[in-house]
Symmetry: C2
Amino acid sequence: MAEDRLLRVRTLLDAVRAEGRTALTAPEGKVIADAYGIAVPGEELAGDVDEAVACAARFGGPVVMKIVSPDIPHKTDAGGVVVGVEGASEVRAAFHRIVGNARAYDPRARIVGVQVQELLPPGQEVIVGAVTDPTFGKVVAFGLGGVLVEVLRDVTFRLAPVAADEALAMLDSIRAAEVLRGVRGAPPVDRWALAEQIRRVSQLVDEFPEIAEVDLNPVIATAEGAVAADIRVVLAESQPPPRRRYTRDEILTSMRRLMQPGSIAVIGASAESGKIGNSVMRNLVDGGFAGEIHPVNPRADDILGRKAYRSVTDVPGEVDVAVFAIPARFVAAALEEVGRKRIPNAVLIPSGFAETGEQGLQDELVAIAQRHGVRLLGPNIYGYYSTWQDLCATFCTPYDVKGGVALTSQSGGIGMAVLGFARTTKTGVSAIVGLGNKADLDEDDLLTWFGEDPHTECVAMHLEDLKDGRAFVAAARETIVKKPVVVLKAGRTAAGARAAGSHTGALAGDDAVYDDILRQAGVIRAPGLNEMLEYARGLPVLPTPRGENIVIITGAGGSGVLLSDAVSDNGLSLMEIPPDLDASFRAFIPPFGAAGNPVDITGGEPPSTYEATIRLGLEDPRIHALVLGYWHTIVTPPMVFAELTARVVAEFRERGIEKPVVASLAGDVEVEAACQYLYERGVVAYPYTTEKPVAVLGAKYRWARAAGLLGGRVMR
Amino acid sequence: MAEDRLLRVRTLLDAVRAEGRTALTAPEGKVIADAYGIAVPGEELAGDVDEAVACAARFGGPVVMKIVSPDIPHKTDAGGVVVGVEGASEVRAAFHRIVGNARAYDPRARIVGVQVQELLPPGQEVIVGAVTDPTFGKVVAFGLGGVLVEVLRDVTFRLAPVAADEALAMLDSIRAAEVLRGVRGAPPVDRWALAEQIRRVSQLVDEFPEIAEVDLNPVIATAEGAVAADIRVVLAESQPPPRRRYTRDEILTSMRRLMQPGSIAVIGASAESGKIGNSVMRNLVDGGFAGEIHPVNPRADDILGRKAYRSVTDVPGEVDVAVFAIPARFVAAALEEVGRKRIPNAVLIPSGFAETGEQGLQDELVAIAQRHGVRLLGPNIYGYYSTWQDLCATFCTPYDVKGGVALTSQSGGIGMAVLGFARTTKTGVSAIVGLGNKADLDEDDLLTWFGEDPHTECVAMHLEDLKDGRAFVAAARETIVKKPVVVLKAGRTAAGARAAGSHTGALAGDDAVYDDILRQAGVIRAPGLNEMLEYARGLPVLPTPRGENIVIITGAGGSGVLLSDAVSDNGLSLMEIPPDLDASFRAFIPPFGAAGNPVDITGGEPPSTYEATIRLGLEDPRIHALVLGYWHTIVTPPMVFAELTARVVAEFRERGIEKPVVASLAGDVEVEAACQYLYERGVVAYPYTTEKPVAVLGAKYRWARAAGLLGGRVMR
C-alpha cells in the first residue's frame, strides 16, 4: 500500500518535472490526495461544455466549477471559480464565463478545461499546508481559513512529519481554537478527521522532499469529517545540498576536550600589551587554568614566563585546543599545522571572514578543518570561558563565579553584556561561549555538550539564526528533559519579507515558524536580552515546582494586585485556597487582612506574621510555589524580612521540602541589599518590580511542564 | 427633528417601563433605529401565518423570519430565526417551525408574532454596540462580527458620544482592520456609512442614559452601505446617583495650597520616636520645609522645638494643610475642627477606614469635609512629598532630588517602591503622592494640578481603579497636550468576571475598556511597575522628537539586530536612509561595516568613529532620534564612549539642536557607571538590555504623537 502510494506520486511528479513545470494542476493534486488518503470532494475534469453538463448531472446536487490551467495558480483572482451551480443551463453559462474570464486574465494561459466538483456542505473553513522553511526544512501548518485569519495570522507550525497526537495538539495551538470546539450552538468539528489531514500532508512532504509547498485551502471541517476543497502542490526548483552532521559521540568527544582541556596552544601569543594574543595569554594565566599553556610565536622564545614555540607542531605532547589570535590572512596556514598536530579544536578569535564579505576565506578554513577532523569555534568571536576549569580563553577578563548556567552568544557585543551582567549580579556560570560566524560548531553541538555537562544546570543562548534547525531541535529535546534551555532569538522583525508562493508560505514569516517550533522543542524563549540574562541567573537558583498551585503572600495589597497580574501574564495559576487552608492563614493575619489568594497580611505586621505565613506556605503540601510581596516598614525592615525568609527556606530545604520562592520587595533603597541576600540563598528576589520575579518563576514552570515534570505530556 | 426624535424614543421607553420591562422587542428596537436614522432592513410584524405570507410577498425577494417575544432575548438560541425563506409555502412552514420552537424553548413565553424582514445582501458582518461601564459610563463598541471575533475579542471602545471622525478612527482600531479595506479581491466596505452607525448608537445612549446596552449585531457592511440586521436595546434597572464634581478653579485653588503650603498643622504630632506623628514632624523639619510647622497635641507644650497646640483651632493665622497622624476613631472629631478653622486640605495618613471594612467611618469623614469645603487626601496613605517646597509630609524619609516627574500611587507599597527606585536612580522628582482610599481627592484632581504645575514635566500614576473615568479622561486630555502622563493600571486580570447581558457587554472586560479609553485619552500605559518607573525617570530627560525617523548607530552588529527588534516592538520606525546620507555614514566606517540602518560601525572602532557618526546623526535634519548600541572594547572604553557622547549631545543642545538619544551599553561592569553618567546628561542609557532604552524612547514617541507634536491628529 505504502509502496503503491510512493510509486503513484513518484510517477506523477516525474511527469510534471518532465514537462518542466513546478506547479501541479488540480487534477494532479487530486491524484496525490487520493494516494495519501486526503479527503477531497468528488470531481471530474470537463474538457468542453457538454462534458461539464454531464459531470454535474452525475454528482446530482450543486457543484463548484474551476478553471484548470497550469498558468493560473490563483484561480479566484482570475475569475476562474463559480460556486453553487445547479442544472444544465447554469452549468453551461458558468463554463463559458470561467473560460472567458481566464482568457481575459491571461490571454497566453493554457486552458486544460474546467473542473466540476461536488459542492461541500457548509462547515468551518480551515487551512492545512506545508512549506519548506530555510531553517527547519519541511514544516506543516494549520489555521482557520478565511480572510480574517489571513489578516490576523492565527496559524501554527510543526516539523513534518507529525504523529497523530501531535497533529491533534495543533488544533489547540491557535488562538481561535475554541471555534473548532463549537461556539454559540455550532457543533464541534471532527477533530480526528482534521488531525488526520494534517498528518497526511506532513507525511507527503516528508516522503517527497522535492515538494516545496502544499496548500489544502480551504478544508471544510464539519461534525462528520474534513474535506479539502482545493489542493495546491508546488515542487522545489532545487534542493539544498545535504549538510555534514557529526554523531553524538563525535560531538561529545571533541566538546569534552574543548571544555575540559589539559593543554592549550595560543597561536599568535604575544608579550606586547594591547595585542589580542597578549590578552588571551594573560587571561589564561591570570584565570588560574591548571593545564598546560603553550604560546606559539615564531619571533619569541618566552611569553609571560612560558616557553614559546615557532609552530604549533613543535609543541610537545597532546594539545586539546588551539586558540587563534592572528590576523585572518594567516589563519589558514596555521590551521593546516593544527590539523597536522591532530588538535581537535580550533578557537578562531580573528574577524575578517564571512562577516566582512570574505566568505571564500572562511570556506577555505572549513575545508581544511574537515580534512583534518578539526572542529572550529568561530571565527569572529571573543573566545570562551569554562569556569570550572578556571579557563578564560578570551580577550576580555577572567570570570570566577562558578555556577550552573552556560551562556552562548552569536554576537560579541551580547557576549560582553553577558559577562558584565553576570559579574554585577554574581551569577554562577559554568561556561560563556562566543559562536560568531558559526563556520562549524554551532548551538546544537554546544547543547549536546551542556546537556551532558554535570556542572551545567541551565543553558541560555543568544542566536540570530540556526544553521540547521532540525539538529537544534533534536539537541534541545535531548537536553530539556534534563535542564532548561533559554533562547533569545534576535532578528524577529526582519521576518515576513521572504517571498512566498502559497497561502501557507505567506503565513510562515520566519519568526512565526521559529516561535512555534522552539516552543514545541520545549525551549523557553526570552522576549529580550535582559529577560534571557535574568532567566539564566534565576533558573538554576529555583528548585523545580511539583505542581501548579501558586500562592502569593504580601504585606502590600497593591503589590498583591500587580503580582496577580504578573502570575496571569506568565501563564501561571493562583491556587484556589481550600477552606481549611484559608482558616490556617487567617489565624496569623489581622481580621481586616484578606486571606484567599493573594494572602494579604497587611502592611503594619511584624516579622512573625511574614514568618508564620511563609512557614505555612512551605509546609502545606498542596501549595507548590510562593510569591512574596514585601512592603518596607519600620516594624519589619528589609534585611529582617530577608533574613527570616532565607532562614525559613533553608530550614525547609534541610527537611527535604524544596519549593520555588520568589519575592518582590517594595521599599526604600535598603531593599536592594535584601534582594541580593535573598538571591544568594535561593530566593529569586527583585526590588522595584513585581513583574521580574514572577517572570523567572514562569520560565521555570514553562521548563518544568516541557520536561514533563508536572504531570503533563512531555513536549516533542 | 431632534425634538421629534427625542419625543418618539421618550414615549416608547416610557411605554416599556410602564409594562415593567427592561428589554425592548425587535419592533420597538426598529422604532428607535428609525428615530436615530440607524439603517435597518425593511420589516413587518406578522401576527399570524397569513400576514407573514403577505409581508414576504410585499418584500419580493427572500426574507428572514424571527420570533417576537419579550421573554426571548436570544432568538437564535431558541430556534426562533430562519434565514432565506422564499415563496408562500416556505414562509408558512417557517412560521410554524419558529413558533413551535419558541413554545418548546419557553412554554410561558408571550409570543407577539413573527417578524418578517428583508434578507440583506452578503457583506462583512460587524458588531456595533454600546454598554454602560461602571467606570466610564456610556461606551460605544465596534468589532467584526461572527464567532471568530467573539472568540478572539477583537473589539474597540470609545466614550460615547463619538464624533464622526472618531467613529471612523474606530474602524482602524481593531486588529483585523484590513478586512474592512477589502482583502483578496473583496471590495472595501462603505466606511462612512459604518462610522455613522457607530456615531448614532453613541448619540442614542448619550441622549438616553437610561439605556444600559445597545447591540447592532450583526451589521452587514457592504460597498454600498451598512445595515443593522438586528437591534437589541436593554434599559438599566436603576441609575447611579450623580457624583459631586469640583470646577477646575476650585481644584487648582485647593491643590495649590496643598502642594505649595505656607503653613502646615500636624494633628497627632508626637515627640516619641517610632510614632507616626513623630516621623511626620521629623520629616517636615529634616526635609527643610521653609513654611510654618505647627504640632497639634493636647498633651504637649512643645514638640521638636516647635510650640504645640491643644487643638488645630488654636493655631494662629491661616493654615493650608492639616496632616492627620492619629488613630482612625479620632479623625472625625479633629476633621470638624479643621473645617471650623477653614483649612482647605486634610491629609489622612491613618488606616482603618474602607480598606478594613469601616466604610461608615469613611463616609462620615466625607460628609464632614463636604460640609466645610475641606478636600481630603487619603485616608490610608503614607502622605505626600512636594520636593520643590522641600516638603516631606510622610512617615517615610525625605527625598531631595528635585526634578520634573510627579508620581502618585493608590497603594502604599507601590509608593515605597517609587521612593526607593527614585533614590537609587537619582530620578528628579516634583512630587510623590499617596492616594490610598481616595475618599475625595483622586487622580483627576492631581492631574489637573500637575498639568499646571511648572515644575512637573511628566506625571506617572499607579492606580487600581478610577472613581470617575470621565473626569480622569477630561483631566488627561487637558494635561497631555502639555506633558506626558504615564499610567500603571493594576488589576488587569480581575476583569471579565462581570456579568453581561449583551454581546457587546460580554466583550467589554474591564481591561479592554480601560485600555482603549486610556489610549484614546493620550495616556501612556505602562505594562508593569518597573516600566512605569523607568518611563517616569526617562521621559523628562529626553527632548521631544520632531519626527519619526530613527537611526540606530551600533558598534555591535548583534546589538543592532536586537535594537531593531525593539524599535519595531515599540511601534517606532527605522528611517530609510537616503543615498547621500548613506554615503556620508560610509565615509566614517570600515568598508565591511554596514551603512543602511542600523549603521554598523563595527566593533574595533576608535572613539572618533562613534563621535563622527553621532555628530552626523545629530546634524542631519532628516534624522529625528538616535539609538546607540555601544560595545565595550579596549579601543573605546565605556567611560570614553559616555564622555564623548555626552559632550557631543551637549554641544548640539547649545546650538539649539535637541534630539532624543538613547543608548544600550553592552560590556563589562564599567558600563554601569557610564550609563549613569550618560543618563545624568540627558542620554537615556542602560546596561545589559537592548529593550529598555528603546521602550523609553517609544513612550516618548507615544506621547509626542498623542499630543499632536508629530504632525498627526491630536488624540481626543
